[in-house]
Structures are given as structure tokens and as C-alpha cells.
Amino acid sequence: MGGTPAGPVCQDDHDFALWEKRVDALMVLCGNTGLFTVDGLRRALEDMGEEAFETMSYYERWIAAINQNLLESGTYSLEELGARMEEVARRGPTYGEAQDG
């Protein structure tokens, strides 16, 4: 309803990357285990503002919104998140290298 011109809609199908499928699965897991609901996802997405919708992809916005909710629910702390991100990054850039264990 309303808004500014957005250009033509791309109708092409596209494959999702593995990480995108994992983000989708993570949201299902968060809902099923009661950590937070899709309402929380939607709230965080809408709070990101217009710039996020122009600069981030769909699942980049999702993982940012999931992270926001998991921080708020106390599932993990920023300190734990930062340490784990460094640990995973040290394993290497490929899926195979980053795989835990």
C-alpha cells in the first residue's frame, strides 16, 4: 500500500545457498523449542528500517533478526557469540573446514 517505486519484480526461480537453508531451519528450531516466535522475527525485521532492506539480502535480514531475539531471550550473550564467531572463523572459510568436529 503506497510507498515508492520499486522497479520490476524478478520472477526467476533461484537456488538457496546452504547457509540460507540453515537460517530457515534455525528459525523453525527456535519456534519449536519455544525460544521465540515468528512474531519476534517479524518485529526485529521491521525494526531494522528501510536501509536494511536495500543493503541486506532476505536471509541476511533473517539471521540478524534471529540473533537479535536470541540475545534478548538470553539464549547466549554477546561475549559468547563473539568468541564462537572467532572460533568458527579460525577453522577456515569453507563449509567443510567450518564444520564442527
Binding site: 500500500m1 503506497g2 521465540f36 516466535t37 512474531d39 519476534g40 517479524r42 518485529r43 521491521e46 525494526d47 531475539n69 534478548e72 531471550s73
Partner: protein, 87 residues
Amino acid sequence: MADRVRVKTMMPPGHVRTPTYLRGKEGVIERTLGRFKNPEQLAYGLPADEKPLYRVRFTMGEVWGDQAECPTDTLDAEIYAHWLERL
């Protein structure tokens, strides 16, 4: 006689499910949809009471005023009871 309602005009910041363009507009209750947990609470991870949800029908003339291309066409929106005032 259908129940006429007006959508509240309040504009609290935060997560709400009532479209801005319908605030202050008058419509009729098309049907009752049942009671659902309040998404405005769920969105913040808080305990949520169940609130009655209604499907409310508005005319395009009411929503868009003189800008409406087909003023008698209608638009339905699902709105929680706490956003509606009975007329």
C-alpha cells in the same frame, strides 16, 4: 445491521499489526475470527493474553477518500479488538 467500528488513531512506536493507513478509518465487522494470542506481546517474547480478532471491511472511499478509483470496492483487514472502537 452490521457492527460499525472505528480503528483507533493511536501511533505507539513498536511492533503492531494494525496498518497505519487504516488508523481512524470506519468499517463494519465482516466476521469474528476467534481469539488469538496478542502478537504485540509475543513479538517481545512476553506472555500474551488471547484477544478477539475480527475481519473488518472498509470501503475504498473510506480508506482513500477522493483518491479512490472505485469508492464502493472494499478492503478487508484482520484487526484485534483492542484496536477497535464500536460506533
